[in-house]
């Protein structure tokens, strides 16, 4: 095993759990940062000069990655960065004091089985509490074992959906006693179909033959909030537009109560 060679942390792929949260110390943004980043990037647009200058957007990503190192959650098991999906919410200026809020939102073993992808939700927050930049980054991390992995929060996967189905309240079958269709549940790029016939879930699969009647989709942060909130927040999150629905919108509305019960089951299973 390569474990004996690891020098910093012992965090392997299996050591990351969806929902884990970390907060960094403060990091002040200085005039020297602005000058150095301008020199490095060559981006000397007038927006990045003068007393009210904004730091270049990617400066935030660079600082977020640096603050992540200070959390000491990644050692030699990390093999590389796979992607960065980022949004700029508000300008970063000289004098800002930034903190990194980091949450593990997805862990998924690769097909080969010897490593996995760990997705981190990262939020750069100013000392006024307002988010400056946020997004997700995915890293490839070596695995210690061959699995199996915990599926309780592997949202949008068949393994997860089977755990949710096992935790359904009997009321679900009564609610859908006259229904024949397929519920699609999607978390970012992961989608799973629950084939329902007369109240029974008769199949759980990445895709059923006729496709989903409708699919409810949200990002990993929303799914995490669904299972971690004190009360089932499905309707509240739906009302503020945190889900998108594709397929038959009428059947989606018709199944409001059933979806609420599905989320209850996902919360129990998590």
């Amino acid at each position: 095993m390569t474990g004996v060679l690891m020098s910093r942390t012992d965090r392997w792929f299996e050591d990351f759990a969806v929902g884990e949260h970390f907060t960094s110390g403060p990091r002040a943004v200085t005039a020297e940062d602005l000058a150095a980043f301008t020199r490095l990037s060559g981006d000397d647009h007038p927006l990045h000069a003068g007393p009210d200058a904004m730091l270049q957007g990617p400066f935030g990503i660079a600082v977020a990655m640096g603050l992540m190192q200070s959390l000491d959650i990644h050692g030699d098991a990390v093999q590389g960065l796979l992607d960065t999906r980022w949004t700029y919410r508000a300008p970063i200026r000289v004098g800002d004091v930034l903190r990194l809020e980091l949450t593990i939102v997805r862990t998924r073993r690769t097909r080969g089985g010897t490593r996995g992808v760990v997705t981190r939700l990262m939020r750069l927050v100013g000392d006024d509490g307002a988010t400056r930049q946020e997004g997700t980054t995915a890293a490839l991390v070596a695995a210690r074992t061959d699995g199996p992995d915990d599926a309780r929060r592997a949202f949008g996967t068949p393994g997860w959906a089977r755990l949710v189905v096992a935790d359904l309240d009997p009321a679900f079958a009564e609610t859908l006693a006259t229904w024949d269709g397929t519920i699609g549940l999607r978390c970012d790029d992961d989608e799973v179909h629950l084939r329902v016939y007369r109240g029974q879930v008769i199949d759980v699969s990445p895709r059923v033959p006729h496709g989903a009647t409708f699919t409810v989709a949200a990002d990993a942060r929303t799914w995490l909030e669904l299972v971690e909130s004190a009360d089932n927040p499905f309707m509240r999150l739906a009302m503020i537009g945190r889900f998108t629905v594709s397929g038959d919108g009428y059947e989606y509305l018709r199944l409001t109560s059933a979806l609420h019960q599905l989320v209850d089951a996902a919360r129990r299973a998590s």
Partner: protein, 274 residues
Amino acid sequence: MTGYLTVGGALAFVEDHRVPGAPDAPAVLCLHTAGQSGAQWRHVAPELAAAGYRVVVPDLPGHGRSEPAPSGPVDDLGAYAAWLLALVDTMGLERFSVAGCSIGGKIALDLAVRASARLDAVVAMAADAWTGGRPSVKGLRRELADVAAPSRSDRTELGTYAVLGRAVDPARAALIATMHRREDPVVSNSDLIGWASHDLREQLGAITCPLHLVVGADDLWLDAERVRWTASRVAGARCTVLDGVGHYPMEEMPGFAAVLDGWLRELTADREAA
């Protein structure tokens, strides 16, 4: 007396809680939310009467025990305001205060625009001058047809939970949400069309009566900034954001009658100071 009155060509059901031995007790008109009825004030009204107010709780046309408006479901909150002025005229009330919530809050604001000279005080809860056109009137019109509005009762019940404040006791929340299922979807949707399309922004300057805008911090339907903006456009208006409270303060807050009594006293003092 509590019972039926003819207003606008149809029977209106009105609770009238009198103060024994005080025929001139200050009157308060209490207005319910979209699709609901005066039952929303059932715990508040007797306590408010005990505090010395004549409490008048109407069911708007098509709601609760009131007959529908002869012209059909009402989708203009101004029509409700005009109906309420006809109601108080029928009852012989020259001066009164208004407390309303949601569409009732916005109707209270509309009454302040139309009839400030007759109003001692207005408490407008869960309402702003203009929603920004939300929710979508197009979507609401589509759902006027039953065939386009599946699982309406479930959505009303769960949608009520979603806008209740975090401070509400679970048993109380369950009672509120269950009671809210009692609605005629066409009437509710028409109310919401009125809610989303009624724009009072340009008329706020006409308000000269004391006004208190109240919004729950957990109310998903309202943006507290729009409520503050509304207050900023009315001279002397008060604005309160209630922590832990959602869209239905009079149903959510235990002892709400005492809270409302306090607000009405403040507004009356404002008026006297002016």
